[in-house]
């Protein structure tokens, strides 16, 4: 049901994002690869050929494929080889991951008060935790969960890089009240990073599960059929804050959604299992800083 208040917030979001100028697009080759991969008759060679049109991206993809984080034995030298060994879906997720870092990574530009290095640590940490949680739960979409965790705060990097005045206001409120970043946004802008990020995922035509992870990571039960993945990202964000890995712009922690906790059958034992492997997984994730 559309209520007056949702129309209001949509309008505010539109007003806010309409002011953004110079917003980057994902590398053009992504559109081409997405199109190719939708066709079941596409061959590994065709995807490989499309990707090498973007040499910078292709080298990042190969670097990731050969990293300890993905942990495939033996050296993979070509994209075609990667697809044959790892399958279309895995390679597609790795290409998307590399293109996100290509488009939004790096330290350039942005509001000085916001610690971008800590932001990326928090994003990567949440991705790694989401991947661990899904592996422990035998949820097969663990690579999608990693991407969901990595991108859940997409809206914050848009604020940081392209809406400096708005970011300034949010940071000021956050500092004064020592509240969650989300609440500071609500107070300062009446538009929040999950809405801004959700808007960008639509604009970039990112997959629907990812859009839900970005838009509903604070309210996972609103994500309908994606509730499993979004609940995983929601709890990964909280565990990442608990472990003090980086920072998303505040130093506090939101209360876990009880329905999400129940859905994942979360427990102390499960947290202990996740924590026991997390340091090693985080070490391996250092590769993401090398491709920024």
């Amino acid at each position: 049901m559309i209520t007056a208040s949702t129309i209001g917030s949509q309008e505010k979001l539109k007003l806010a994002v309409d002011r953004i100028t110079g917003l980057p697009t994902l590398p053009q080759v992504i559109t081409e690869i997405t199109r190719l991969m939708q066709n079941p008759r596409t061959s590994a060679e065709e995807v490989g050929k499309a990707l090498i049109m973007d040499q910078a991206l292709a080298s990042k993809v190969l670097k990731l494929v050969n990293s300890a984080f993905y942990g495939f034995p033996g050296r993979i030298n070509t994209i075609t080889h990667a697809i044959v060994i790892l399958g279309f879906n895995t390679v597609k997720n790795i290409i998307l991951t590399a293109s996100i870092f290509e488009t939004l990574g790096g330290k350039g530009g942005g509001q000085k008060e916001f610690d971008i290095e800590k932001f990326w640590l928090h994003s990567i940490g949440t991705g790694v935790l989401a991947r661990e949680i899904s592996k422990k739960l035998n949820f097969k979409f663990f690579e999608e969960c990693f991407l969901g965790g990595l991108l859940h705060d997409l809206g914050k990097i848009i604020l940081y890089k392209f809406m400096p005045e708005e970011m300034d206001k949010v940071l000021q409120v956050q500092k004064e009240e020592n509240c969650l970043f989300f609440l500071a946004e609500k107070k300062a802008l009446d538009v929040t990073h999950d809405q801004i990020g959700g808007w960008l995922t639509s604009k970039w035509n990112l997959p629907e599960d990812l859009r839900n992870a970005v838009l509903y990571h604070h309210m996972p039960m609103l994500s309908g059929k994606y509730a499993m993945m979004v609940s995983i990202v929601h709890i990964a964000d909280i565990l990442c804050r608990a472990l003090c890995i980086g920072s998303g712009g505040d130093s506090t922690i939101p209360v876990v959604d009880e329905k999400a906790w129940e859905k994942l059958k979360f427990s102390r034992q499960l947290i202990d299992k996740i924590y026991s492997d997390i340091d090693l997984e985080l070490e391996k994730a250092a590769v993401f800083f090398q491709i920024m």
Binding site: A68, A242, C244, I253, V255, F266, I271
Partner: protein, 103 residues
């Protein structure tokens, strides 16, 4: 230092920790500079990853996993407002114990 896959080694990297064989014997000592011959030897041995010294300015695992004392203080601060919530209390206890154990 950082842990990398053998596939990520480039010539000239220096081992920050020794490479130890399955029998516990040291195959390559700490401080060894990895040249082409050694890199292929590592591959032949089937060593999955090595720990190398980091170059200046890199974000390394020390930065990712800050000191435990700092972490313990941060955990207290982060949970200050929420640790009375029954589910958050479970996460809080697990996290505290995790940093206690890791020392």
């Amino acid at each position: 230092m950082k842990r990398i896959s053998v596939n990520e080694i480039t010539e000239g990297m220096v081992l920050a920790k020794p490479v130890v064989g399955s029998g516990g014997n040291i195959l390559l000592g700490e401080g060894t500079e990895l040249r082409t011959t050694l890199i292929s030897r590592l591959r032949n041995w089937g060593v999955p990853f090595v720990v190398i010294q980091s170059q200046e300015g890199e974000i390394t695992e020390e930065k990712i996993t800050a000191s435990l004392d700092t972490k313990r203080q941060e955990v207290e601060r982060v949970f200050e407002q929420v640790k009375n919530h029954p589910l958050m209390a479970i996460i809080y206890e697990a996290t505290k114990e995790h940093f206690g154990k890791a020392s």
